[in-house]
Symmetry: C2
Subunit: 191 residues, 2 copies
């Protein structure tokens, strides 16, 4: 069983990813956490305090470097699968924060930065990987940065549309999207 603070933060995050920061009231959070309103203020002083503590507690910073140094096997299809899963794992663990960030762009622009920073790091690692694959003569000579960006953008599009929108065109394709996408990239880039 979790303690009072955790119950509050969990409730806050759950409600805010649905409705956004602004539209969730302290009263609502308290009810959802089954504590009194006063308890929330005693633990976190302000509503902003609740929010910041929740973000702090639930944000996930991955270690991509470990993946790239230990799990790469220099087979384009297998490695792209690994990379895609690493990215989606990052985004899924940060999904509540991502969802709040989209609803509070103007109020908390720094929220996005936390996620974007990780994505940029991953992009650089993919660029390095592609370059190395070209050196090993297993990938066509193309602009590696462009390919890395397109790959990440596709994954972002997949994550974003499935997270944000229920009735998207991806409907019923969620399982096979990844394998089809990686197959496409391999067709285009493999040597």
């Amino acid at each position: 069983m979790q303690n009072t603070s955790d119950k509050i933060l969990q409730a806050a995050l759950t409600l805010m990813q649905e409705k956004g920061y602004q539209k969730v009231s302290i009263k609502e959070i308290a009810q959802h956490a089954e504590v009194s309103e006063m308890t929330v203020f005693r633990h976190f002083k302000t509503k902003l305090g609740v929010f910041e503590a929740a973000v702090e507690k639930f944000s996930y910073i991955p270690c991509f470097e470990e993946v790239f140094t230990n799990q790469i096997v220099w087979d384009l299809e297998m490695d792209l699968t690994l990379i895609a899963k690493s990215y989606l794992n990052l985004m899924n663990k940060n999904k509540p924060i991502f969802l709040i960030a989209t609803q509070e762009r103007s109020e908390f622009p720094e929220l996005n930065e936390a996620i974007a920073k990780n994505t940029r790091r991953l992009k650089d690692l993919i660029v390095a990987y592609f370059t190395s694959m070209q050196d090993r003569n297993r990938m066509k000579e193309t602009n590696v940065e462009a390919q890395a960006i397109i790959f990440l953008t596709t994954l972002y599009g997949y994550f974003s549309s499935t997270s944000l929108w229920k009735n998207h065109f991806l409907h019923e394709w969620e399982e096979s999207f990844l394998t089809n996408t990686i197959h496409l990239f391999c067709e285009a880039l493999k040597k």
Copy 2:
């Protein structure tokens, strides 16, 4: 010069796409439109009324069918460019509504539906196009629906990330993203 109603709707849309529906006050809209608060209520009765009128006035429904029947030349690269531009044109014209929709998912879920419907229509047209290209022996035999979905998801990822986030990994690649993406798809799918 536009009339009073138009000035109000324009101001409302401009402010709401930045800050969301909830966080924009009637007072703010009135000031931005250079009218009095009362004028806003007299024209649209409620805040929701302002919003609905703005959405009505500024939503854009494209005619993809015209594009597909008249402008297709059965060259994969040229046609994908055309299709991509049609999609981005749709999304850009509906950008204000898209931006509000992302900030008000829970409050106005039907907003997304308006855009999603067009996207699904476009997807079906792309599937038909790909099928026809296979019949003409100009495209590899693959699952056309998967390819159509991946193509649209990539374009959606591009549009979404550039619209929502300032400091994304796409930075500085915005112009050449399209040509690189289309080139990738042609490499993978052309026969």
